[in-house]
């Protein structure tokens, strides 16, 4: 009997030791998503990254459509189950930080926020660079000189993208008008569609969406105007309208970050990867887009890739007329709450 007990104790200790120090194989990875994986946009793009991890031999799981206000519970559940947890919405920031403190031996990575901890870092891509380039195509294809933007939630990230779109469009047409309508939601297909309709009714002939579904592409197709997709290639939903899409390639980041944790080289920090890493990019262009426009866009793209320029580093005018001459720091870009000149709508008051 005593022997049995001692065997049990030693087995338990061994198991604890194994469990506590090393992973049995590759680290397992959990994802917390704000939308459904079938949204064909933001969450879908992250899930493609998760599938790349799965293909690389990692065990993964995810929970979809997690409300930001109720995310702590889910994040904790994922922390119990996995070695690395990715939380992929701005509103998950504080809950992630809280859970990270409770699970110091796990690694947490939060997308699109700014807070860090001993075992929590954040990551994002410089999507504004891709939006800027996509907008050059959009502006070149607008006959009326008016771009309509369907805004999702009025947070700095989206305002930054809207400004980048406006500055990009101005590279091609300095007199372009940009109108913004906020749907105040990340995902509401019927409302996205209605917003696109309202923008088209009001004179826009190129629609850019910041929201997650392809509803705006469909509505643009119905109205015979062009659209630029968001987060994933939305051409399948209306190739007649789809000029291009600024897309995420999260696999690039997820594979690298997980590798770093696996090798023990990961440190908490802020990863904000740009166009050069491949984390963001553009999809193939509509056949109507003239070659000259693509060449013009590629020239600007080359300048961004070489580091010769960035979107917010060569001066611009704010909507209120004040001139910004210095290059913006990452911090200033992350906290952007004003519109640039060229946007005819009023900036959201916060």
């Amino acid at each position: 009997m005593r022997k049995l007990i001692s065997i049990m104790i030693s087995v338990t200790l061994t198991l604890l030791l194994v469990g506590g120090t090393a992973w049995a194989g590759k680290p397992s990875v959990g994802f917390v998503y704000v939308g459904p994986v079938g949204d064909g946009g933001w969450t879908h793009a992250h899930d493609l990254g998760r599938k790349a991890l799965e293909a690389a031999g990692h065990e993964t799981s995810y929970v979809e459509s997690v409300p930001e206000g109720d995310s702590e519970r889910v994040i904790r559940k994922m922390a119990r189950k996995h070695d690395i947890v990715f939380t992929t919405s701005f509103g998950y920031m504080d809950p992630t930080l809280k859970v990270a403190k409770q699970y110091p031996d796990k690694t947490f990575l939060h997308c699109s926020g700014f807070k860090q901890g001993k075992n929590m870092g954040n990551y994002f891509g410089r999507m504004y660079q891709a939006k800027y380039l996509a907008a050059m195509i959009g502006a070149g294809m607008s006959k009326k000189g008016r771009i309509g933007i369907v805004g999702s939630q009025p947070i700095p990230e989206i305002i930054r993208h809207i400004n980048a779109i406006t500055l990009g469009a101005q590279q091609v047409n300095p007199n372009i008008e940009v109108e913004v309508l906020w749907i105040n939601s990340w995902f509401d297909p019927a409302k996205e569609s209605d917003a696109a309709q309202a923008l088209i009714d009001n004179g826009a002939d190129v629609i850019v969406t910041m929201a997650d579904s392809a509803a705006t592409v469909q509505t643009s197709k119905k109205n015979g105007v062009y659209a630029i997709g968001n987060d994933t290639d939305m051409a399948i939903y209306g190739k007649e309208a789809h000029l291009t899409a600024a897309v995420w390639n999260w696999d690039v980041y997820y594979l690298a970050a997980v590798k770093a944790v696996e090798n023990g080289t990961w440190k908490p920090g802020s990863d904000w990867w740009g166009l050069d890493s491949g984390i963001v990019g553009l999809t193939s262009f509509h056949p109507d887009v003239p070659q000259a426009l693509i060449v013009q866009m590629n020239r600007e793209k080359g300048r961004i890739l070489s580091g010769a320029t960035d979107v917010f580093d060569h001066g611009f005018t704010k909507q209120d007329g004040t001139r910004v001459t210095k290059a913006l720091s990452d911090g200033e870009m992350l906290g952007m709450s004003y519109y640039v000149k060229g946007i005819i709508s009023k900036a959201p008051s916060s």
Binding site: G38, D39, I183, N184, A190, D194, A198, N202
Partner: protein, 309 residues
Amino acid sequence: MEFFIQILIAAVVMGTPLLFATLGGVISERAGVINLGMEGLMLVGALVAFVVMLNTENYFYAVAAAALASGLVSIIHGVVCLMLRASQIASGLALTFFGTGLSGLFGDKLMGETVEPLSRIPIPGLHAIPVLGPVLFNHDVLVYFSYVCVGLSWWLLYKTRLGLNIRSMGEAPEVCDSLGLSVMAYRFFAVIAGGMLIGIGGAYFPLALTPFWVDGITGGRGWIAVALVIFAFWDPVKALGGAYLFGLALALELRLQILGIDISPYFLKMLPFVLTILVLTLVTIRNNRRGIQVMPAALGKVFFRGEKH
């Protein structure tokens, strides 16, 4: 003026799925059965409509299949809370989760597929009326069908023996029972008929509003419909006004921005719900003074045959 008309058109379009769902809720709740599963039933209707449309390219089949599918799923609600006498609230919530999950599961493979949306068919003569014409009589067939459904529901509930019986089931099922009417049969009928209308409301999303499949395509409109049933005081005609008013709130949130009017989006978002609470409170106070009861008296109450209350 053009802008004003566009707002009203958008209000009708956005209000139509709400109207179908609210009518369904009204019929079910008039018989005394609360249905909190509307969001789930709408999603089932949306999914089935999209799949059938994709395969047959026939709008009629798509709408009929959506109604049928949601009707079938409603039977679960009926069995659980009428036959097994479980809580209607819990069963309804479960139905929502069931419908959401089911549509996500089967909808997974439909990503990227699109269908041709219903086209607008102006009603000859009527569409030329200033303001009212473009706002009410230049829509797709499902919008016109929703008008018919309002009329039919009203006629059914107030002008037929069947409707009288249905309403009685929601007021005093024990009396109906003593008169030899089958509470079970009438309530089942109302739950299924209501479910079918809710399913058609769901079908409106992929057939007209957003002609592709995306998980959670209804964007939570089923919950607004739950509030609307109360807002409309369980009346089909008031449901029409309520649905368009809520549709107007949805349309206004975007159009006020175009006008540059700075109203907090959070205020506009909560407007439908605040309105519901406000109207409910005011009318209840008024009715209490006059001694009128608007809410079906037996709403949500489990009926046990032969038991005294």
